[in-house]
Symmetry: C2
Subunit: 492 residues, 2 copies
């Protein structure tokens, strides 16, 4: 299991390198290396000897504390082993091949803004997902099997009403709060232009103040920001720099910092085991969203960070922008076409649309050829925007190209969970607002490490959430948090 964990870390390094350092012509050889590592990992994971060992340990585990690391480790190993063993190697290879081809088709389709160049790859993905689902014990809903890969144990039956309610509330909230279509993003406070070198200095200053440690972390530019952990003390985060929008670098750096801090905070004794990783994408995203939005867009944090940004960005931030204007700016609401550019209020509507569409495709109620029209209709219905072309519409995200179905919902789960955690955290840390205002982040980091990070994958996400908050997954805390902030920021 330690070896398997090591191979996972090596894969993380290869991903990081490919997306930050690798010269473009290195891609072909890298694909071979990656496939080789994949085969070796898969072969180790499905080794029947693991199943025999797990069975042999069952009587022993029955007498142990069910909350001990060892018993939870056995559960995680069994889950990984059995899931992997159910999928025939040929199907896994077909899927991984289709993922590579699908991304290529998607890239070409997006460049040409032509969905027809992508439809065959998408149809193939759907077909392969059905074959994948058929490898498992029948679930209540085929989509459950896909979801479980990213958010263990969550079901479609739970998710559908949750997202439907959230959708209806958000549509109403956006109608109430959205600014003019012509308004600048973040009210123009980040419009610059700002030199990349100044942006980097500002981002690094903020990161080091919130907990980035140069002895164990790196920050690099990447076209699509991400975080990877190559080890408990080797955290690589990335951001991107737009000359005319410092907000992208600032908030994506805080976002990836949240991901990195989760990985850095896993208990050292779990690090080289299958428990030594984030438990789900939803929980992972709750950490990034908490730093990006709940902290990064809070009134006290905005007040504390503004002078630090000014130091590096100088007069690029208009002189008239005070802490209150800054806070209002970064919480302004605007209908938009592109998910990754969306503000905190509209963001989840982009996700819910994707969830509804991919669910319908898996259910067979939406044909691949009807997807673009359904997309455009959904954008109109949920966000009130007209989609001008496929590149800015149905082709904007790589996920479906890469065969990722059941992945999108975790973004919104992260937002909901972050709000639920924050509700609990405020009870434990009554001074947290004042501390944010002084840039004192250690209490927050410690709370997150103690309650979330250190456990790694020990507790499944539902159990973890209940242990920490005493609550089940629900949208109300997020909606309450958002309404309160929009009111405070004068958007309502």
């Amino acid at each position: 299991m330690a070896e398997l964990t090591d191979l996972g870390r090596i894969h993380a390094m290869m991903f990081w390198d490919q997306n930050t350092m690798m010269p473009p012509n290195g891609a072909a050889a890298r694909a071979d290396h990656s496939a080789t590592l994949e085969v070796i990992s898969h072969t180790k994971l499905i080794d029947p000897e693991i199943g025999r060992l797990l069975d042999a340990l069952e009587p022993w585990a029955a007498d142990e504390d069910p909350d001990s690391d060892a018993v939870r480790l056995l559960a995680a190993v069994r889950r990984d082993h059995e899931k992997a063993a159910r999928v025939p190697t040929e199907l896994a290879a077909e899927m991984s091949h289709a993922d590579a081809l699908g991304q290529q088709a998607w890239q070409e389709a997006r460049a040409a803004s032509d969905f027809s160049l992508f439809r065959d790859a998408l149809e193939r993905h759907i077909e392969l997902r059905h074959r994948y689902v058929a490898c498992f014990e029948p679930a209540e809903h085929p989509y459950d099997i896909l979801l479980d890969d990213f958010e263990p144990e969550l079901t479609t039956a739970e998710l559908k009403p949750l997202f439907a309610n959230l959708r209806d509330d958000l549509v109403a909230l956006v109608a109430e709060t959205a600014g003019d279509d012509g308004q600048d993003r973040n009210n123009g406070v980040f419009s610059g232009p700002f030199e990349v070198v100044d942006q980097r200095r500002a981002v690094m200053d903020v990161l080091e103040a919130v907990g980035f440690d140069a002895d164990g972390w790196r920050l690099d530019p990447a076209p699509h920001p991400f975080a990877q952990s190559l080890g408990p003390s080797d955290i690589r985060i990335t951001t991107r720099y737009y000359l005319n929008d410092f907000g992208v670098a600032h908030f994506s750096a805080l976002h990836e910092f949240g991901h990195g801090l989760y990985e850095a905070g896993i208990a050292p004794e779990l690090a080289r085991s299958p428990l030594g990783q984030p438990v789900s994408l939803g929980i992972h995203e709750s950490q990034s969203r908490l730093w990006e939005n709940v902290v990064g867009r809070s009134r006290p944090f905005c007040g504390w960070v503004l002078p630090m940004l000014r130091e590096h960005l100088g007069p690029g931030i208009p002189a008239g922008v005070d802490a209150d204007a800054f806070y209002r700016a970064v919480n302004s609401v605007q209908r938009s076409l592109i998910r990754v550019d969306a503000d905190e209020t509209t963001y989840n509507l982009h996700i819910i649309l994707r969830f509804e569409l991919e669910l319908a495709m898996i259910e067979g109620t939406l044909a691949v050829d009807d997807l673009p029209a359904a997309w455009d209709e959904g954008m109109q219905r949920l966000l009130g925007v007209e989609v001008p072309d496929a590149a800015q519409g149905v082709l904007q995200d790589v996920h479906w190209g890469a065969g990722l179905f059941g992945y999108f919902p975790t973004y919104t789960l992260g937002n909901l969970i972050a709000a639920q955690l924050w509700t609990r955290l405020q009870l434990d840390l009554p001074e947290i607002e004042a501390e944010l205002g002084r840039g004192e982040l250690a209490p927050l980091r410690d709370w997150l490490r103690e309650h979330i990070h250190r456990h790694g994958r020990k507790f499944p996400p539902r159990e973890l959430l209940e242990r920490v908050t005493g609550d089940t997954l629900r949208p109300e805390p997020f909606l309450a948090y958002l309404r309160a902030k929009l009111a405070d920021a004068g958007a309502v």
Copy 2:
């Protein structure tokens, strides 16, 4: 075999990352990852099934063209498989553990300039090398077994007289040509100071002019410059920048470019096989030394490159330095303490001393405790310099700390082979001097690819040299080349 090759490339990536990018605290986890990959590679390589397949293919191979890729591939696989299978896994693990500990002991000893902190680690290395040697069929000399890991098929019996002759000629040549002890390195033409950013621009301009392709190469700073190939089109080279010595960046970049070009030039059809790598350290070093010294320190290249350097380094290069003065400066001879700082003429004496000492340690005629005195005596005898302390003497190189015995000679082999190749190349490319003077490097690159690079590991080094030059390994071409240049550069 393709998988094994992939694993080797992944290891190269990890090495590159560790030495250029990794945050310092990442080292502990990286050691685990590296050990895991090592075990997986070793297990694959010693798989008895490989031996059975090789045996089964023998009758088939007997009827094939002995110079075909397939037949040569079988020979390379047999060599790798049998060498690896002879060494018990426990001994391999002990050696790799001792290598790590030895490097640590060496680091501490060098920092304290205290050989006694290193002697136990060194004695352990010698003992382990004897156990390693005992795993193989007895060779004429135990050192042969060690040498073979770096320079296949070369013997101590060949090397001893070769190096003894070279030593005597070089001692005489240094006596004839060495400048004053107080003279600036490179006559001060590179003393600057030069900003790192200007140095990097100058280095990149030169590299791109000689054949560095940004789509398939990277250049990064590293404390100890090296080159790694992560794939045929993913070549990573490094250099280092000293504010007061641009010569270090310039010549180490040309040196690593030579290594990188070798790896980039291996025939694509061999790339993902055990033949798809450089055949020996000596041949590898012949490529780096050829670019660094034979090309980089030639009169025509110096004349061509000087204006390019001036463009970025400006008045840091004294105005009075013309092409002739520049050429003379980079070929000045000076007795010095440190191998990596040595000029082309004195360099091999540093190597020959190390060879003599490590050979004596392996033979048992030199006790570990007597090494420092033997070192100091040798430096006096060969280079006429007084060693002030162990840090600038016997402790200056990491190699012995890392358990590398039989490695040092390959540096000098590279110099000798580079001169032999150049002798041949001048016959094939009669215009080469004029081309260097115009910065036309394509004919040279093509010649090297055709005669050396594309073959990868197909021909053992001795055979390769004979195929290309019709000659056997000998020092005369190097000595003739060096004497001619020193005369031309006014050093004699």
